[in-house]
């Protein structure tokens, strides 16, 4: 049980996909302007990450590894993720049109969100099915945490008097780097907390 908790904490805090592994920066910068769209986007990412792992893990284990076709991982995983994102898009359009409109172009962009592909590939490289699922859910939650924190930072930025040459994306990137730096403070937390 401790191991699963450690995986979850690592994926959320010490090994945060956005702030420590620098994956999925595009939606991180693109959709973090408002809290509710940030939450909606992260929820979609959590869902897609979990689903993608659940589907790709058996494909990898029983189809690719058995036939010595590991080199197909990237293309097969992208195929699966793309199809899943399309499915999420169709379902969202039907049941949550406001969220669908708010996410706009960033929803199909989950397809090319390297965080999703990253978590899937890292999962099949090292781990068993249950661990993989925990890791992907944790990665999604970590993504959500980063998005929520950063949407707060950005709403503060809105009312700041920013020098002209830093206005817009430059100051956002600087803020992102500082938030990322603050996550380095979690180094060693999991080991210390759980006595590993």
């Amino acid at each position: 049980m401790t191991a699963y908790f450690a995986i979850l904490l690592t994926a959320i805090l010490t090994g945060n996909f956005v702030l420590c592994k620098f994956l999925g920066i595009c939606p991180f910068l693109g959709v973090s302007k408002k809290l509710n769209t940030a939450l909606g986007m992260s929820a979609a990412v959590v869902f897609v990450m979990a689903l993608a792992t659940a589907v790709t893990y058996p494909i990898n284990k029983y189809l690719l590894v058995k036939n010595d076709l590991e080199y197909l991982q990237t293309i097969v995983f992208i195929l699966v993720i793309a199809a899943l994102v399309q499915l999420v898009e169709i379902v969202l359009k039907k049941f949550m049109p406001p969220l669908y409109n708010a996410l706009g172009i960033y929803l199909p962009l989950i397809t090319t969100n390297c965080a999703v592909l990253g978590v899937v590939i890292l999962n099949v490289d090292e781990g068993y099915f249950a661990q993989s699922m925990f890791n992907s859910v944790g990665a999604g939650l970590g993504f959500m945490l980063a998005m929520v924190i950063f949407s707060g930072v950005r709403s503060r930025l809105e009312s700041c008097d920013v020098p002209k040459f830093l206005q817009g994306l430059p100051i956002v990137l600087i803020a992102a780097s500082i938030v990322s730096l603050s996550f380095m403070g979690f180094t060693g937390l999991v080991e210390g907390l759980l006595g590993l």
Binding site: N67, D68, L69, L79, A83, I90, K93, K94
Partner: protein
């Protein structure tokens, strides 16, 4: 089996499975598209300003096509033309729109208003207003940090000697600035014809107002007595004109000792 063939087979099978799944899903979760709403949406300006009272242009178009509203004249930026087009699509009666434009009811520019403190905080009216009602002695007046300028989608508002001024020819009457102004100084005036307007919202007593701003309404009642149409009323030491009754004769302007009441002609005569 040939490993290349196997690889091709596996990828194709996964691709076909995904395609079939997506096709089924798109049929099961198909969303019916409201063609009438799309048509109405196409002729709306797309500013999503919310002046109509709905959540943007999509909301107004959907409400019209579903029959939730029968008002075709709610789109202020679109004006009469858009109302006409909506009427043609929906078959609803088209009412008449009185064209209006925003006006900032303050003359407290740098030469008129007295400054009480030096403000060095965030350059925003909303922020400045929280510190003793702003840096000007008059707590009712325009602060001149341009929250309305930022709110305007049409670049119709500019700062001019410390106060905001609206260009009526660029104003599309979306009322975003009206909602933004922390002092509630911006009002919509009829675009056609000439109206008298009190360019002051100061509700202090006359003697106090006099010390705060050279152009502040002191509530002396001279305009009330001068008006032949009885269009002017005084509310808490500040005059207000009923634009419905005003004929633009200018009698009030001649009487006003502080030039707070002015004749305004927004639309230039051709």
């Amino acid at each position: 089996m040939n490993p290349i063939l196997l690889a091709v087979l596996i990828v194709s099978v996964i691709g076909i499975l995904a395609a079939v799944g997506l096709t089924v899903a798109s049929k099961v979760f198909a969303v019916p598209v409201d063609e009438k709403a799309e048509e109405i949406r196409a002729c709306l300006p797309g500013a999503n300003c919310g002046a109509c009272g709905f959540s943007g242009c999509d909301g107004y178009a959907a409400a019209l096509s579903k029959g939730e509203t029968k008002e075709t004249t709610l789109c202020a930026p679109g004006g009469q033309d858009v109302a006409q087009q909506i009427g043609e699509i929906t078959g609803l009666a088209v009412g008449n729109m009185t064209p209006v434009a925003a006006v900032v009811l303050c003359q407290g520019h740098n030469d008129n208003a007295v400054i009480k403190l030096e403000y060095q905080g965030v350059q925003s009216c909303r922020m400045a207003a929280q510190i003793f009602g702003g840096p000007k002695e008059c707590i009712y007046g325009c602060l001149g940090y341009g929250d309305c300028v930022a709110a305007c989608d049409y670049e119709a508002i500019h700062l001019c000697n410390g106060i905001a001024r609206v260009d009526p020819h660029l104003c599309r009457a979306c009322r975003k600035c009206v909602k933004t102004c922390p002092k509630g100084l911006i009002e919509m005036l009829p675009l056609e014809g000439t109206e008298a307007a009190v360019l002051c919202k100061n509700h202090d007593k006359g003697a106090v107002t006099r010390k705060e701003c050279k152009a502040g309404c002191i509530g002396c009642m001279k305009c009330v007595k001068a008006c032949p149409e009885e269009a002017i009323t005084i509310d808490r030491f500040c005059a207000h004109v009923d634009y419905e009754k005003c004929v633009g004769c200018g009698a009030c302007h001649e009487q006003c000792p502080v030039s707070a009441i002015n004749l305004i002609t927004l639309a230039k005569h051709a």
